[in-house]
Symmetry: C3
């Protein structure tokens, strides 16, 4: 959909760490990237789980508690409804596989290959005691100013 020199942009805030919402975010990101749009995803609050490696995080007592309760990693996300302690995640994965829908892990890999920018919110990382080394490769660190600059130039922006 790009029709000039500079590529058209799309920006998203991924606030939620729910499997289904993160999946929707990556499907939109990959779709826009397929149209040669430049996509920036800003992961903040619970959304940071999606781009974490899955190691334990947190240095202080509360940071470690939060790290344990809310352990990151793309395979640990559960859906926003009907999770039933992991059962929902398993069922969704199975239904998606049966219908040849791409898994969340695959969607994220496609996004990286298509050059989708993944930016981790510096402020949340500081509060939740998550460091750059806790994220998968290619994740940038950024603040709210980065989001506002991108969103102001974007064809559309979403809060997910």
């Amino acid at each position: 959909m790009a029709n000039g020199n500079a590529p058209e942009k799309v920006s998203m805030i991924v606030f939620s760490g729910d499997m289904d919402k993160v999946m929707a975010a990556f499907i939109i990101a990959n779709g826009a990237a397929a149209f040669d749009m430049q996509v920036s995803m800003f992961f903040t609050f619970w959304g940071l789980k999606a781009i974490q490696k899955g190691n334990l995080t947190g240095k202080g007592l509360m940071g470690r508690m939060l790290g344990l309760m809310n352990r990151g990693g793309i395979d640990r996300l559960g859906p926003s409804k009907f999770n039933f302690g992991g059962m929902g995640r398993w069922m969704f994965k199975k239904m998606m596989k049966k219908r040849n829908a791409a898994s969340l892990d695959t969607l994220m890999k496609q996004a990286r290959e298509q050059g989708v920018r993944m930016i981790a919110c510096e402020m949340t990382c500081s509060v939740m005691e998550i460091g750059k080394e806790d994220f998968i490769d290619g994740v940038e660190m950024g603040g709210v100013a980065t989001f506002i600059a991108e969103a102001s130039e974007s064809k559309f922006s979403l809060f997910i």
Copy 2:
């Protein structure tokens, strides 16, 4: 607010199936349509419930389980908070009626009469085993590319 030949556009992704969020989506859609804007609502994931007829869906075992647990139909949606097994839905309806606020059902009918486009996400339909025959009249089927094309031309886009 249209000031040229082509109407101005608004696009929305309705991801949530919560009564209150779906209601907010239709209020915005009807408001924009009243300004002669062309509104496209993309229903995906749990949002599909809002535009289903309410019949049982799903062919395979898991699809049928999901169809039962998450039976569709605009009258089956409960609010995101204070539902208490249906009590919240009843109370909200009653409070809204008392104040002459339009019901969700009425809001949806108004949207259809004003020409708001309702598009069901093909991929979610496939995974959840919901067919075109399970939707109310006038619903179109579409993919992420349809949304991105619309959103890129929209004055504003929302993820609800």
Copy 3:
């Protein structure tokens, strides 16, 4: 980021009353205001809690019940995850303080000082039996038309 005579605009619907989401909304609002953008925040449904004084609301039986269950005031908001009956709120506040992150109360004060417009949804106020006198100073009343007009002129619009 303003580069003409009229300031660039940003608009947000704050539908959620979760502490973390309201916090994200104010962080974005303050960030945009720092770039001299004119920010309008439309508080609706549960989001109204954030701009209430915290007094009891509701005249009829159901309005009073809702006012009690969902008592407003910026300090009463709990996070969308891990609240544990208030424990989460306490922990988040403590972790944020340790890292010198601004509290929700401070973020809201900054927003007011920077001229961020806070608009309460008239229709929700009527249904939930909340009056203008129940809001903090400076809150305007407005309808969906106000939002659509603002969003149509905004660089980006978010539904939070």
